[in-house]
Amino acid sequence: MKPADTLLTPRPARERVRDASARSAVTVAGLIGLVALAGVAVFLGVEGWPGLTARTGLPLQAANFWALAWPLAFGSFWAAVLGLGLAVPVAIGVALAQTWYVPRWAGRFLGATFDILAAIPSVVYGLWGLMIIAPRLAPVYAWLGAHLSWCPLFAGPPSASGRTILTAALVLAVMVLPVMAALCREVFAQTPRTTVEAALALGATRWEVIRLAVWPTGKAGVVSGAMLGFGRAVGETMVTAMVISPAPFLVGFGLINSTNPNTIAAFIAQTFPESHGVEVATLLALGLVLFVITFVVNVVARRIVRATGGRV
């Protein structure tokens, strides 16, 4: 599309040079952006390769890369699943409460609080979980360990400090809640007004309106929002690094134990500052594993969004 160029008198050479240089400057910026973003995987792959194949000198004297990576990947997944399991029902409930139940001022108050909380850095959540939440949960864990130890999840021995994977999951849930609740509310708000009114006209109670009209249209949005939240929780570093009291190579579902599985992100943050040589390469390769996990989760979440025609 160059109407001016073809129809009018030729431009002066100075102007054409300026046009061409502006165009190439912008193209170069685009290419740098492309390289920077695509480069993440490349940089990690190139520098992390020695870690993937090493047999000696790995962190924690691991036998090989996968012996180290598997328990950490398990921990990342387990913490994120627990966190989302706690956050999703509350997020749905909050979104419904804000639009259907709570007085408008209360809904707006919570919305404003959410806006502030969405902006709070994760290291502050870590500090809060570690110093405020964990000590208060320790007696709860002791009680759970004493009374529910027949259940494998609470088999214990219970942690005296409260720094368990369940505490970390709780903090993660609080952390992803503002974003997820806002997302759910937006999705539920897209319910066609006529459908709601039709349900009401048929004599539905408030709950039946939600179940018959609001939920069916919002379901897919909630699922993809949960997946985006999962992607965030699985890569979250500071909360798990500060709250969980980890044991090396541990794979276990226990929620209240004094020893817990560690997560990939937390392990990287804890180990990296004092690492050298092969250890660093191993951590870079671990970063690549985490990158692939979040990449897949994000792509799938966005596919769902697109398939259902929603926008997130």
Partner: protein
């Protein structure tokens, strides 16, 4: 939704009960969400006030054991690293957005959009590792500096800037562009005199959002900018402390006088949250103030 306040007459007990249970559940979820959130805010404010004094802003931790000291070095580090990351991200981000909206070839554009979308979800610790790997490739292993931290943060900030800038550039009415072209303006002139000025409020707001996102990042800075007790104003050499990493290290390297370290950590958290809120507020205000009247609403 006020029309829903009453329940229709003649509803069976079971349905009425279910409705009641749902109402209680929604209120319970509301409370379950509000309690931890309020607790977090109250804790940070009350515990943070303990050390919110002048020394905190004027003194570093050099030679400090136990009480006293401050976070001046970390504050300066945060300011410098954030400025550097912004200086890297804005030209690349806005340039990429202009390319996407004004010049983009189909294949390259789609690839770029996909990457920007996916990179919005990049875990920050991975950005730190990638920046480290990049720097190792260029200058060799072991180097930690404020600039390395800025590069890591710009990996997180570029997608935010690209997204918001491109969205705003797309909203510029075609009429305006066509009018400028009709007056004989060249393509870059149209972009520079019509596209960018019209999109400016959105771009500025997007940059502020990006700054708000990166200013509280801990993990990447912990990896590549490191930590120090002294003031370092040189971005290219030596470790540089930043506020988030300061919070982490106050907790992690506690001395005998634990309360002194805890108090400093909470005060740093309060200051950091203040900074983040300042930027998100600025993003909103600037977005509103700079909006050209023709594009409002």
């Amino acid at each position: 939704m006020t029309a829903l306040a009453g329940r229709p007459a003649g509803v069976s007990t079971r349905r009425r009960l279910t409705d009641h249970v749902a109402t209680v559940a929604a209120w319970a979820a509301f409370a379950a969400a509000a309690i931890p959130l309020v607790s977090l805010l109250v804790t940070v404010v009350t515990r943070g006030l303990a050390r919110l004094d002048m020394t905190f802003f004027t003194s570093s931790m050099r030679g400090i054991v136990g009480a006293g000291g401050g976070a001046a070095h970390a504050l300066w580090g945060t300011v410098l690293v954030t400025l550097a990351a912004t200086a890297i991200s804005v030209p690349i981000g806005v340039g990429t957005a202009v390319y996407l909206v004004e010049y983009g070839r189909p294949v390259l554009s789609r690839l770029l959009w996909f990457l920007v979308d996916v990179m919005t979800g990049l875990p920050s610790v991975v950005a730190g590792l990638a920046a480290y790997a990049l720097i190792v490739m260029v200058v060799g292993p072991g180097a930690r500096s404020g600039l390395a931290g800025a590069i890591a943060l710009s990996l997180l900030m570029i997608p935010v800037v690209v997204k918001s800038s491109a969205e705003m550039l797309r909203l510029v009415p075609t009429d305006l562009r066509e009018a400028a072209t009709g007056l004989g303006a060249s393509r870059p002139a149209v972009i520079a005199t019509v596209g960018l000025p019209a999109a400016r409020p959105g771009i500025v707001a997007g940059v502020m959002l990006g700054v708000g996102r990166i200013i509280g990042e801990t993990a990447p800075l912990l990896l590549v900018a490191g930590f120090t007790d002294s003031l370092n104003l040189n971005l290219t050499t030596g470790r540089m402390a930043t506020l988030p990493v300061y919070i982490y290290s106050q907790w992690q390297n506690k001395g005998a006088d634990q309360a002194a370290y805890d108090n400093r950590a909470w005060t740093a958290a309060l200051v950091l949250i203040g900074l983040v809120l300042l930027f998100s507020l600025a993003a909103r205000l600037l977005g509103r103030l700079l909006a050209p009247t023709s594009l409002k609403g």
